[in-house]
Amino acid sequence: MITVNQLSHHFILGKKKQETTLSVLQDISFQVNKGEIVTIVGKSGSGKSTLLNLISGFIRPTEGGIWINDQQVSDLTEAEFADFRLEHMGFIFQSFQLIPSMTAFQNIELPLILKGESESSRKKITLAILEKVGLTEFADHYPSELSGGQQQRVSIARALVLNPPLILADEPTGSLDSETETELLQFIKQLNQEMEITFLIITHDDEVAAIGDRTITISDGRIVEGARSQ
């Protein structure tokens, strides 16, 4: 599903002429198989988010390659990557990233609109997903009218709506209390089993890390454990 090969990344800091480079990731290589749940753990500042952002295409690697579904995504243009994301990837963010001026329904419908689905099929799919995440009665609520757990379920519904084979999550439980966290983890497990969706989850929480079939540990920009599946 995902192959990361000798990936390195550094940020350039400061103004021109007096810029310094900050090396964040060095020589990262690992694979994620289809249907796996892989968690990535590591201390704060170890480079976890940077790694996920590289895989997501939000930033481009300084060195090395990334393949998703046999497509070398690190070579795609920004526009091509956008289309690829829409088609193949779902995202769950720590801070949900819902559009505040849109209702739960409209937020979930957004990827379908971007894909160019017809209005009738959009409605059908969105209502089905709303039911799946148990938010049917909150369809017309704005994000500000929903609890954190409900908002995160909306964002999961949005990630699922186009049936992507891969979902990337950066600290998905970071903003949730432990009860909703447990609920969410169960839901992820269920999706993984029922729909064979591959998950790559970043966390610093041991309980979350435990749902992974495998855990990769990063320290100071290097993988120290779990690169290969057992």
Binding site: S56, F58, D83, S101, L114, G116
Partner: protein, 446 residues
């Protein structure tokens, strides 16, 4: 993403910022209306002046002065030229006239008039639009028709009496010929030479018709239209071309005898005039037509209109600053939303389209409102300005004078400029929207 959905997004965004968008649309509408109204003055005056000129002339008429010879001299036209002129495409008629070069006296009982005698070719005159007020056209050499105003000067020959009305300066009715002239015999008297008591010749001519009043208000037609035979008779009598007095008879060679004084070509329609004039130019005929004159007037107005449109465009350019500003603010405000949309897979092209659509929407609605307002203002100007001017300067204006006119072409040009400018001013903000950094936007750093 479908255009329909993009448009729905745009409408939602506009709804969220009604006042700001409304003000920008207002500015655009004002710019567009200003442009149209300004340029409409050029169109209106052109229309008025062209219409005025055309109404006072026969537009299909082309005067031919002569043929330009190799030595740059003009040669009078002969029958050969007439045949050629008649052969040109879309020529309806070629009239030719010769005028006696002395004024014969026409008399009937004790009434008389000294006026111009013209030999005309009636079939071509009829084709060119000559009409009779009464009677018929001449059929025999000694038959004549007279101009509409002939009778206004056909006056009793009385001595020592004041025949002029003091107030109007016209001849008093009681001295003018009042009976029916048709069927009467006029005696045409021509002189042989300049000698006052010299030899004279009198030819009896029968009046068979009176011509219609000339269409041009100021033209007075008091001519007597004689036949070519009578004309030739006068020439033979005096032995000079056109019966001219006081010149050497030897000048009466064939070149001048068979030439025409006045030749006019009539085109079948207005559109054909220019092509005929062009052909005449190619064949070295010196000609004049209203259409050629119109061409120059129109050229002048085209330059003036272009200038006015240019000035008006400045108003739209100013409005475009508003659009640029509004769109930049819209992009900044929506940066977090744009970031989220990009993150979940919105193509930069789609985002650009949405913003371009929004600025185009402002442009289109602004241009639409501006056009409606411009028509309104134009109507009011045409209605009110003449009243104001008449009131302020106590001066009557020509009736069909139109200050402002908005043809469809002006609307198309203005709306085109308006849309072009608005789309251009929306281009940079839209491009900025596509360049929004996903991570920064999601961290609310923009």
């Amino acid at each position: 993403m479908k255009i329909k959905d993009q448009f729905r997004f745009v409408l939602q965004n506009i709804k969220k910022n009604k006042v700001r968008t409304g003000m920008t649309i207002l500015a655009t509408a004002m710019g567009c209306a200003f442009l149209i109204v300004l340029a409409s003055v050029g169109y209106g005056l052109q229309e008025s002046i062209v219409k005025d000129t055309l109404e006072q002339q026969i537009v299909t008429e082309i005067d031919i002065y002569g043929h330009i010879e190799e030595d740059d001299n003009y040669r009078s036209l002969t029958m050969e030229d007439i045949d050629y002129l008649e052969s040109i495409d879309n020529v309806n008629a070629v009239t030719r006239r010769n005028q006696l070069r002395q004024f014969p006296t026409f008399s009937l009982d004790d009434y008389q008039s000294e006026t111009t005698a013209v030999a005309a070719h009636f079939p071509s005159e009829v084709d060119a639009g000559l009409e009779l007020d009464e009677g018929r056209l001449p059929e025999k050499p000694n038959e004549v028709v007279v101009g509409y105003h002939f009778l206004d000067y056909f006056v009793q020959d009385v001595e020592d009496e004041d025949i002029y009305d003091e107030a109007s300066g016209e001849i008093k009715d009681e001295y003018l010929y009042q009976a029916d002239l048709i069927g009467q015999t006029l005696n045409m008297t021509v002189k042989k030479d300049l000698d006052v008591d010299g030899e004279e010749q009198t030819t009896p001519l029968t009046v068979v018709g009176i011509l219609k009043k000339p269409t041009k208000e100021w033209v007075q037609d008091q001519n007597v239209y004689i036949s070519g035979e009578v004309f030739a008779g006068v020439e033979a009598y005096t032995g000079t071309p056109g019966g001219e007095l006081g010149v050497d008879g030897d000048e009466l060679d064939s070149a001048t005898v068979n030439a025409f004084d006045e030749v006019k070509v009539y085109a079948t329609n207005l559109e054909a005039v220019q092509t005929i004039v062009d052909e005449l130019d190619d064949s070295n005929y010196a000609s004049y037509s209203v259409v050629s004159e119109m061409k120059q007037i129109n050229m002048l107005f085209t330059i003036m209109k272009a200038g006015l449109i240019l000035v008006g465009t400045i108003a739209i350019l100013i409005a475009s600053i508003g659009i640029y500003n509004t769109m930049t603010m819209a992009v900044t405000e929506r940066a977090p939303d744009i970031g989220i949309m990009k993150a979940i897979g919105a193509n930069p092209k789609t985002i650009k389209q949405i913003f371009l659509l929004e600025s185009s929407y402002i442009g289109i609605v602004g241009a639409l409102i501006g056009t409606i307002v411009a028509y309104l203002v134009s109507f009011l100007v045409n209605l009110g300005l003449p009243l104001i001017i008449e009131f302020a300067f106590q001066e009557e204006l020509p009736e069909q004078l139109q200050f402002s006119m908005i043809p469809v072409s002006l609307v198309l040009i203005s709306v085109g400029i308006c849309l072009l400018v608005t789309i251009l001013s929306g281009l940079r903000p839209a491009k900025r929207a596509t360049q929004i950094d996903v991570l920064k936007a999601m961290r609310r750093e923009i």
